[in-house]
C-alpha cells in the first residue's frame, strides 16, 4: 500500500475505535529524520572520547592512571555511548516501524491487528539495550541463584 494513496494526509489515522493511532506521517517522518541527523554526531563523539582518553593515557606517563583511564573507556564511555546510540536507534526504528505498520503494512490486516502491531512496535522505543546481557534474560539459561 502506498502511503500517498491513503485517503487523508496529513493526520492519517488507522486503528480501532477503542485505540486510535492518529499520526501525521509527514511530521513524524521529519522528526525521525531530524533526530537521526542530530544523533549522527554520537558516533563521532564516541570516537573523539576514545581519542581524548588515549591521549591522556599517553600523556599521564603512569601505568596506574593509564589502567584506570582504560577502565573508564570501557565502563563509562564505551558502555555509556553504546546505551545512548542503541537507545536512539531503538526509538527511531520503533517509530519508523509504527509508521510502516499503520500506513504501508498488509492492507488486509484488520484495524485492531494493526493497532496491536503498532503498539508492540512502539514499545520497542524504550528497549533497554543491555537487557539481553542479563543472566535472567538469556533464553534457555538457568540462573544459578
Amino acid at each position: 500500500m502506498k502511503f500517498d494513496s491513503l485517503p487523508s494526509s496529513p493526520g492519517a489515522s488507522a486503528g480501532a475505535a477503542d485505540g486510535v493511532f492518529d499520526v501525521d506521517p509527514a511530521a513524524v517522518s521529519a522528526v525521525v529524520l531530524e533526530t537521526d541527523a542530530e544523533a549522527a554526531a554520537f558516533a563521532d563523539l564516541a570516537y573523539a572520547l576514545f581519542q581524548d582518553l588515549s591521549g591522556l593515557v599517553e600523556a599521564c606517563r603512569s601505568d596506574v592512571i593509564g589502567e584506570q583511564l582504560a577502565e573508564i573507556a570501557q565502563d563509562t564511555v564505551h558502555r555509556g555511548m553504546n546505551v545512548v546510540q542503541r537507545r536512539t536507534g531503538n526509538a527511531l526504528n520503533a517509530v519508523a516501524e509504527v509508521l510502516t505498520i499503520l500506513h504501508s503494512a498488509d492492507a488486509a490486516m484488520s484495524d485492531t491487528a494493526r493497532v496491536s502491531a503498532a503498539e508492540a512496535a512502539q514499545a520497542k522505543a524504550d528497549d533497554d539495550p543491555y537487557a539481553f546481557e542479563r543472566p535472567d534474560h538469556i533464553p534457555g539459561q538457568v540462573t544459578p541463584w
Binding site: 544523533a39 563523539l45 591521549g55 593515557v57 563509562t76 503498532a118
Partner: protein, 604 residues
C-alpha cells in the same frame, strides 16, 4: 657517566603538565558535547508531542524514549568532567615535582657531574664526601619519585571511583579508600596487594643501593677497602630480609619465604607474560582510537613508569635479593594485571543505517514524507548521509558544458590559453612532477594559494605519493581555496570559508584542466578493527559530508575547466566512497563527465 645519575631517565617519568591539562579539557568538552547533542536530539524528538503529530495508545513510551538517553549522556559528561578534575590535580602535583626537580636536584646533579667529570665512579668512591653527595642527590630523587608515585596513585584512586560509579560516595574513613583500591589492583594478580600503597622514598633508596640500581641511577658505596663481593653479599642478605619483611608488615623467616614465593611468582609472570600483557594493552588502545604512537612505543603510550624491569632479574641469590626489590616490583606488577578488555562492539550508528537495514525502502518513503512536511522548513536530514536528497551547497557553477575551451579565466589576467601554463604532470606517476615543488604563497594561475599545513604522519607517505608534493618538518604545502559556504540553508546565509586541497596542478590537456586532488590512505582498518562497520561508515560519511562536498562546492564556485580527483590507497574504501558520490545526482553527473574522479590508486 661520572656520577651514574641519569637525569633524563628520571625526567622521562614526569608528565608534561600543560599537555595533560589540555587533553583533560578536551575530554571534558567532548563529554559536554555528548550531553548537548542528546539534549538537542531530545528537543527535536519532543515535537512528536505536538497536537495531531503522534497520538495513540501508549504514546508515552515514545515520548519518553529520550529521557534515559539524556540521563546517560549527562552521566558521561559528568564523568568526563570528573576525569578532567582528577587529571588536572595530578598535573598540578606533577608540575610542582618537576619544579623541585629543576630547582633543587638538577643544579646539584649537574654541578656534581662537572666536579667528577672524566672519572669513573670507582675512581672517586673512596672519597667519602663525593659519595655522600652522590647519595644525597639519589635520595632527593627518591623523594621526588615517591611523591610522584603518591600523586599517580591518588589520581588513579579517583579515576577508579569514577569508573565504578562511586565517585560521589563519601569516604568511609577506613584508610581513605572506600572503593578498596588495593583490592581492585590485587584482583587478578593474586599477590602484592601492597602495590596499592605508594612507594616510599626509603624503598626507592633501598632499590638504589642494589647492584643494578634504579632507572636513573644507583647509590654509591664508600670504598672502605673490603672486597666488593663480600660487601654485596652482606648487603643483599640483610637489606633484603629487612626490607621485604617490612614491606608486608611481617617478621620472621616464614614471612620472608612467603614474600619470596610471591615475588618469584611475579618474576615468572613478568618473564612469561609481560610481552603479551603489553601487547594486549597496546591493542586495546589502538582499538580505542587507532593512535599510531602505540605502534612505535607501546610502553610510553600506555603510560608505564620507566622502571628498569631488568633490575629484577638477578643473577644470583634471588631469594635474598627479593627483599631489596620487594617494593619496586610492586609497581611493575601493575603491568601484569589483566588489561581491561575493551570489547569494541561499536554500536550501530543510530538512525538511518539501522532503519535502512531493518526496513528496506522505508528510507525513501521517509524522505518523501518529510518533503511533504511543510510546517517545518528545516531541510530533511541535515546530517547529509548519502543515499539521496543531499544537495551540495553550490552557490553558482560556471562549469562549461563542453570541455573544449572551457571559457574560464585564470586569475592573474589573460585567458587560460593566453598564459604559459606550467607542465606540472608527473610523467612517472600520479600528481605533479616531484621536481616542480610548489612555492608557498604562489597561486600557480589557480584560484587559491599554497600554504604550509600540518599533516598526520600516517597519511603523509601516501599523500606525497599521490600529489608529488614533499613534506618537511611535519608540515606539507597544501592548496587553500576560499569559497562561499552556505551555513544556514533556511536563510541562505553564507560564510567565507577556506578549504584545503592536497594538491593543485595543471593538466595541459588539451584542453588545459585545473586538477584538484586529495589522497586518502589507511581507512579500511576502521571496518576490520571493529566488530561491525558502523564506525567505518561513519568515517566515510563524515569525509563525504564535511570534506568532499565542500571541496566540490569550492571547485564549482571557482569555475573553469576543473577536475576533482580523490585517490584511495584501498580499493574497498574507494568503491564504498564512490557509492556515496554516485548516490547524489550532481555527484553522479560530474563523475560521468569526468570532472569528479574517485579512484583506487595503490602504491607500488
Amino acid at each position: 657517566m661520572s656520577t651514574g645519575i641519569d637525569l633524563a631517565a628520571f625526567e622521562r617519568m614526569l608528565p608534561d603538565s600543560e599537555a595533560l591539562r589540555a587533553r583533560a579539557d578536551a575530554l571534558r568538552d567532548t563529554g559536554a558535547e555528548v550531553e548537548s547533542v542528546a539534549a538537542s536530539a531530545a528537543t527535536v524528538w519532543g515535537r512528536l508531542q505536538g497536537q495531531g503529530i503522534y497520538e495513540g495508545p501508549g504514546q508515552e513510551i515514545v515520548f519518553s524514549a529520550f529521557a534515559p538517553i539524556r540521563t546517560k549522556a549527562a552521566d558521561i559528561a559528568e564523568a568526563m568532567g570528573e576525569v578532567r578534575s582528577a587529571i588536572v590535580n595530578y598535573a598540578e602535583e606533577a608540575a610542582e615535582i618537576r619544579r623541585r626537580f629543576e630547582t633543587q636536584v638538577r643544579p646539584a646533579a649537574e654541578a656534581f657531574a662537572v666536579e667528577t667529570a672524566g672519572q669513573t665512579v670507582s675512581e672517586w668512591d673512596d672519597d667519602r664526601d663525593l659519595v655522600e653527595r652522590q647519595n644525597a642527590i639519589m635520595s632527593q630523587l627518591s623523594v621526588l619519585a615517591a611523591d610522584l608515585d603518591a600523586a599517580q596513585r591518588a589520581c588513579a584512586q579517583v579515576l577508579a571511583r569514577i569508573s565504578s560509579g562511586t565517585s560521589k560516595e563519601t569516604d568511609s574513613g577506613s584508610g581513605g579508600d572506600p572503593l578498596g583500591f588495593a583490592g581492585a589492583f590485587a584482583q587478578g594478580a593474586g599477590y602484592l596487594a601492597s602495590g596499592a600503597l605508594p612507594t616510599t622514598a626509603s624503598q626507592f633508596d633501598a632499590a638504589a643501593k642494589s647492584g643494578h640500581g634504579l632507572a636513573w641511577g644507583r647509590a654509591v658505596e664508600h670504598d672502605n677497602g673490603l672486597h666488593p663481593f663480600i660487601r654485596g653479599i652482606g648487603d643483599q642478605i640483610i637489606g633484603g630480609y629487612e626490607s621485604f619483611a617490612g614491606l608486608l608488615g611481617k617478621r620472621g623467616i616464614p614471612a620472608q619465604l612467603e614474600a619470596t614465593q610471591g615475588l618469584l611468582f611475579m618474576l615468572g609472570s613478568l618473564t612469561g607474560r609481560n610481552a603479551a600483557a603489553e601487547q594486549n594493552r597496546a591493542e586495546m588502545l589502538r582499538q580505542m582510537a587507532q593512535v599510531d604512537l602505540f605502534k612505535t612505543d607501546p610502553s610510553r603510550a600506555a603510560g608505564r613508569l620507566a622502571f628498569d624491569i631488568g633490575t629484577l632479574f638477578i643473577p644470583a641469590g634471588a631469594a635474598a635479593k627479593a627483599g631489596t626489590f620487594g617494593r619496586v616490583p610492586a609497581r611493575a606488577a601493575h603491568v601484569e594485571l589483566p588489561a581491561p578488555r575493551l570489547e569494541v562492539t561499536t554500536p550501530p550508528t543510530p538512525g538511518l543505517h539501522t532503519i535502512r537495514e531493518a526496513h528496506p525502502g522505508l528510507l525513501d518513503r521517509l524522505r518523501t514524507w518529510a518533503q511533504d512536511h511543510t510546517v517545518d522548513p528545516q531541510p530533511a536530514y541535515a546530517g547529509g548521509k548519502p543515499g539521496g536528497g543531499h544537495q551540495f551547497d553550490v552557490v553558482r557553477s560556471e562549469a562549461p558544458d563542453g570541455v573544449a575551451g572551457g571559457g574560464s579565466t585564470p586569475p592573474g589576467g589573460g585567458t587560460q590559453y593566453g598564459v604559459q601554463l606550467p607542465d606540472h604532470m608527473n610523467p612517472n606517476g600520479p600528481g605533479r612532477n616531484p621536481e616542480m615543488q610548489p612555492r608557498i604563497g604562489a597561486s600557480e594561475h589557480g584560484p587559491g594559494e599554497w600554504r604550509l599545513q600540518s599533516s598526520s604522519p600516517q597519511g603523509r607517505e601516501y599523500q606525497e605519493f599521490i600529489t608529488g608534493v614533499h613534506a618537511a618538518d611535519g608540515k606539507v604545502p597544501e592548496y587553500i581555496l576560499e569559497y562561499d559556504k552556505v551555513v544556514d540553508s533556511v536563510t541562505g546565509a553564507i560564510s567565507r570559508t577556506e578549504i584545503r586541497m592536497d594538491n593543485f596542478h595543471w593538466d595541459k590537456g588539451p584542453p588545459p584542466v585545473q586538477v584538484y586532488s586529495d589522497a586518502k590512505g589507511h581507512y579500511a582498518f576502521f571496518e576490520t578493527r571493529f566488530k561491525n562497520s558502523s564506525l567505518y561508515n561513519a568515517k566515510l560519511d563524515e569525509m563525504y559530508r564535511k570534506q568532499f562536498s565542500n571541496q566540490l562546492t569550492a571547485m564549482l564556485q571557482k569555475g573553469g575547466n576543473t577536475r576533482l580527483e580523490w585517490h584511495f590507497l584501498e580499493k574497498k574504501v574507494a568503491d564504498d566512497f564512490l557509492d556515496r558520490v554516485l548516490s547524489d545526482p550532481l555527484g553522479a553527473r560530474l563523475v560521468s563527465e569526468g570532472r569528479v574522479v574517485i579512484q583506487w590508486t595503490p602504491m607500488p
